[in-house]
Amino acid sequence: MKLKTSPLFLLSLFSNFLILGFTCLNLKASEPLNSSTLKKRSLGLIETAQRLQNLTKDQIETQSLSKKLSILNDFELKNAQSISLNQAFLKDIFTQSDPKLLSLAKENECTLYSMLDNDFFKSSLKDRKFLVDIVDSKNQGQRMLLTKDEFVQYITQKKCFYLKEHRIIFDLKNVVKTLEGIPFSIPKTQNECKELHGYWLKNPYTPNLCKINLTINDAKKISGGDLTENQIITKKEANFYTEQIPSFKRVYLENLCQHLDSPEKFCQNYLKNDVWNKVLNAEAPTYKMSHLCENALGLKSTPKTSDLLLCAQRFNNSPETCQTKGMEGYPGYFPKVDCDQASSALKESKLQADYHDCPGNSSNLALVSIHRIINHFYPEKIDSNIDNCDSMSAQTASKLFFSIKNDNQWPLNICYFNRIEKKETCTIYIPGDKSDESLSEDKVVSKILYNHYGALPKTFCQITDKKKYNPIRNEFKQGCFIVNNFDSCTAGACEKVIYLDQKKISNIRFEGSFKFDLFPTAFKNERYSTINLFEEVKKIQSKPLRNINEIEFHLNQNKNGIVFGLACIEDLLPEWKARTIINQCQPIPFLITGTYLNQATSTLKFVILLSTDDLSSPRIIEWERIFNGVSHYSNLHPLSLWTMYGLKK
């Protein structure tokens, strides 16, 4: 038994209203039609859906198949006073088709005809025929089956003149240009959005626009090798639309056409309070989602607005997308947090980061944190790529270190046999090739080769990958090459071989690895700890923060204030690496970049970016974990120092 509140019942009720509406329209258009006949065919509004459906089918079958029911075959349309869709036929298509289409169909009679023209509705009739009521010149009502083209031609002439034009401007030749002229606006407020939804329902183009979406979706359902002619056409059209129409417009149309019956759902994608939507509305910087989006869509360039819109939908519909996407070439902790948590955290995060780094390639996670901090206080857009995502962190840290000229503390050396002094000598270097840095690896090696190995005065050493270096090729026959094994390389530790004019120079060694006292570990070296260099060189002020209130105050009161700390990973993420040995601790640098109030539990949590984590995937964690992690590390620290500082400039 069906309840009167069931969706099917409501649908039938709704379709009855529509039919009554259209019948009234027809009445006006074709007054000679006998009103008593019409009444006889009308159904009561409170009929059950089941009865309505059965009746509709019976009527259709009877009316279409039984020729004796005065169905005309050879009536001249020009002799008709009026032609209107048969009521039973309307019921049939409305009950068989997607209910959300009715919202559009009810707007306007011509919209309905346009939807019929664009094949939105299914019917029980074969060959897509239309069952119509005709009032002939003698004022007699008749029924007739018309083809779509016959019906549309008549309607175009009599009522909806633009249907023919729409056919032209939306055909494959013109559709792209037509779409260029249609504004696809993005609403910013709820009211604006509802108005926009209403505008689209009234817009006569909407059926043709939704036809694009319908074709693309229909094509996705087609599979198998043996395709009908219609299926082949649908596939071809869908391919054309996908290739020629920008993704922003396709996504927009998908959202519109899927939510014709619900302005709320249509608006949800634009007014959602997530970071993706804030980026789209320019309320949050684009970098908060651009990298994630670039990887989620497999783009090779910075995503456009249309791409971001597509990503926002994807991130909302499939939150797990963010767990895996974005790691290609930029390794970090895997898997990352899901899109929902990334959104919540990014929304509250104050960290400025218009670049992308790769913690998984770093030999020392201190480099990652130093770079993230300096770039936050001195923001700079960096065109990150797989080759520089690690070295940019090393360069930032090197610059900070050398700005106070403390060569003795620098851990990286190139050692060689000094032929003048007849003994091994070591000299400091900064990894990589940098044109503006005299201590860069390539320049230091060039100088050593010139001074001690007979290289020509203007010898320039080129850093290259082991896979690329091929001495048989002309480009490698002359000159100096520092050949790295990039497969096992990090910015601070790399297996290297030097060739000068194809001859291997064996007694030049690269020594040391990046070492940083992020916080002072001995009183004598206090000045050279990173936290002190921040203050001395970069004028970034710091002070220890020991409790939850101090951290909250620091983050809320200082516009660019963030928190920098060192804590045991065993406390920060025990689900990953639990403590199973007494005093076990693997210290990991981290940044706290925002607060997060869990509305459900009224618990204050923190947005934390571990130096192992991908830049676009911060986490939200409890204060207890941070406190325990810092406490345990402090217990093991040589000066028992509290290693969590608030930073501001």
């Binding site: 639990a578 403590r579 109030l597 217990n635």
Partner: protein, 370 residues
Amino acid sequence: MASKNKLLQSIARNFVLYSISTTLYSVEYPELMAKQSNENIRLISKDGKYTYYQKKSGSLHFSTNYSLKEVLKSEPGTQYTLLSTPARKQIVIQENPLFNQQFTVNPNEKIYLINFGGYTPKMIGHGSHARLHLQDKWLSYFDSKSKKIFFQNTENEALKFNISINARINPFFYPQVIMIDETTILFSDLNADGSTGIFKLERQKNNLTLLEKVISYQHQIELVACNQRIIILKKAHPHLHVGTEMYLWNFNLEQTKLVKPIYQSQLADPGSLQCDYDDQHKLYFIKNTGSTSKPEYDAFIFDLESYEIKRLTYLFSNTSLINMDGVLLSIDRGKLLVIKGSNLYKESDLLNPLSTQTSGDVKAELRNEN
């Protein structure tokens, strides 16, 4: 304003919870008491006879009755981690001189072996995540740079081999390793999409078999061998809301697939499986007793015969489960608590005979019964 009020309510509620839990643990679980301050202790034998501790100046020391020896000396700030097993034949020392300067998940530590109760270290290699196997006859450790698991026989230096792993997708991955016997090794690895696989290497046949690949990228695994049993824990990565499953692996039957789990939870448990040194049927682990949005962690005992679980601690934020030569420890608000075993090292270290066990486990059991 409303959020401020909520925050104040939250602080008040947390304070009440803190007070309650403080009362609970201070009564139930004694704090570890030893002659050395707790942060310096690296290993104390169960009978309290041997203590290994370190100084912040970078040296590792061994103390026993009337005797104090320096085991290793390194840079100031060096961190030592010591590991032993119920076999009590060997101790692995991991020495990290760059503990405060070089930060990474898989550090390149120096790995040494000493005899249990000894003080003469033998350098083995460089790596991390060292583990003893087969009654301490074998040692394994992982070198993240070369992505190799190294195996070294502890009795004969010449006997060694290594296994290369793939795991390219997660640069911070470290494998779980178990030796079934001298020729059969179980280890975990990641494939290109981040799914974990458990592999069996048969050295004699030079045969590598993928035993199980049921674990999605959202899960990680723990492998432990408690006597003749292999236990596999399939648990969620941090911040991923998937459940936990524990399996028993039967090698005698040449099992090649994980069958019905012996334990399941809808919540993400941290795990941290620990075998009981005395009762071969008991296993300890950390379970989430809260919810997805508000996890609460405590230690539980799992009975490998009856598959029953029993709560061991009521700390609500217990994320550390340390088995120090059979004495089970947890940490709560910076204090090392003895969950099972004696806490009276201070007495034994003072050359008094070991007193009758008035231990934490007895009290915990009583509390459970109540």
